[in-house]
C-alpha cells in the first residue's frame, strides 16, 4: 500500500470525528488530530478501533499512545502491516 493510499484511508477514518473541517481539507502528514482537526480526545480511541478494523491489525497501548497525529499514525500502521 502506498503512502497516498494510507493517507487517503486514514482521512476517511477520521472524517466522522473531525470538528474542524478546514483542518480536514488541509490534511497532510503534519496534521495533529486534536490541535488541527479538533477531534475530541474520547474519540481518538474510535479512530484507533477503526484503524484496527480497516487494516486488520492490532494496536497495543504502546502504539496507541503515539497516534495523535497523521505522521505517527501512518508509521504505526506501516509497522503493524509489515509485521503481519
Amino acid at each position: 500500500m502506498t503512502k497516498e493510499e494510507l493517507l487517503s484511508k486514514l482521512k476517511t477514518i477520521v472524517t466522522p470525528y473531525v470538528q474542524n473541517t478546514e483542518g480536514l481539507n488541509a490534511l497532510n502528514e503534519n496534521t495533529d488530530f486534536i490541535k488541527d482537526l479538533e477531534i475530541n480526545s474520547a474519540n481518538l480511541v474510535d479512530v484507533v478501533l477503526d484503524v484496527e478494523d480497516e487494516f486488520d491489525i492490532e494496536i497495543d497501548n504502546e502504539a496507541m499512545e503515539k497516534m495523535i497525529d497523521v505522521k505517527s499514525s501512518i508509521a504505526v500502521i506501516e509497522s503493524k502491516l509489515a509485521a503481519k
Binding site: K35, N40, A42, N43, L44, V45, N61, M64, I68
Partner: protein, 178 residues
C-alpha cells in the same frame, strides 16, 4: 500543579458509543472495567473515570513538561486517587445532570475553580487573572508552550502556568492553583 476536565454528558452520549467492542478495553484497566460494570449507572461511571484520568494526565504532563501522548490506560483511578508511573494525584469530581467535572492536583491545597455554561473559558480566565493582578484584561494573553501546555502571559512578561482549562459541548471550566 493542577489539571481539570469537563464532560458534557448529552454530547458525550452523541459522540461516543462506550459499548462499542474494544472501547472500554482500550481506555480502562481491568479494575476500572469491573467498576464500570458493577456501577448502577455504567455510562456515568465511564465519564467520571474518564474525566479523572484526563484531569490527572494534565497535571502529570504539566509537572514534568511531557510531550502529548494518548494512553489513558496508563492512568488508573482508585477511588479519588489517580496513579500514573510513580505519581499519585488527588481528584475531586463534581456532578450535575448535565456534566461531570474533575479537578486533579499534585498537592492538597484548595484550588479555585469555576464552571461555565458557555465556551468562552479563555476570556473568563483572562478576566480572572486581570482582576487578581490588577492589570487590564487586554494585557493578558494565553499562549501554549512546545508541549501545548497553556500559559498565561502578561504584557510585562510574567507567566503563569498554575491553571488548567477545559471545554466540551455547552460547558467549560477553569481551575487555578495559587
Amino acid at each position: 500543579m493542577i489539571g481539570n476536565d469537563i464532560v458534557d454528558l448529552k454530547l458525550a452520549q452523541k459522540q461516543s458509543n462506550w459499548q462499542r467492542k474494544g472501547w472500554l478495553q482500550k481506555i480502562f484497566t481491568l479494575r476500572e472495567q469491573e467498576q464500570i460494570q458493577l456501577a448502577k449507572q455504567p455510562e456515568l461511571e465511564v465519564w467520571k473515570l474518564w474525566s479523572r484520568k484526563e484531569a490527572a494526565y494534565k497535571v502529570h504532563q504539566r509537572r514534568f513538561n511531557l510531550q502529548p501522548k494518548y494512553n489513558p490506560k496508563s492512568l488508573e483511578c482508585v477511588d479519588h486517587l489517580v496513579q500514573i508511573d510513580d505519581s499519585v494525584y488527588n481528584c475531586e469530581t463534581q456532578l450535575t445532570d448535565d456534566w461531570v467535572y474533575s479537578i486533579a492536583t499534585s498537592s492538597s491545597k484548595n484550588p479555585i475553580s469555576k464552571v461555565f455554561d458557555h465556551n468562552r473559558v479563555r476570556d473568563e480566565l483572562k478576566l480572572w487573572f486581570s482582576d487578581f493582578l490588577s492589570i487590564p484584561e487586554s494585557s493578558c494573553s494565553i499562549v501554549k508552550n512546545l508541549n501545548r501546555i497553556p500559559l498565561l502571559r502578561t504584557e510585562n512578561g510574567s507567566e503563569f502556568s498554575n491553571f488548567s482549562i477545559t471545554h466540551h459541548g455547552d460547558f467549560s471550566a477553569f481551575s487555578i492553583d495559587l
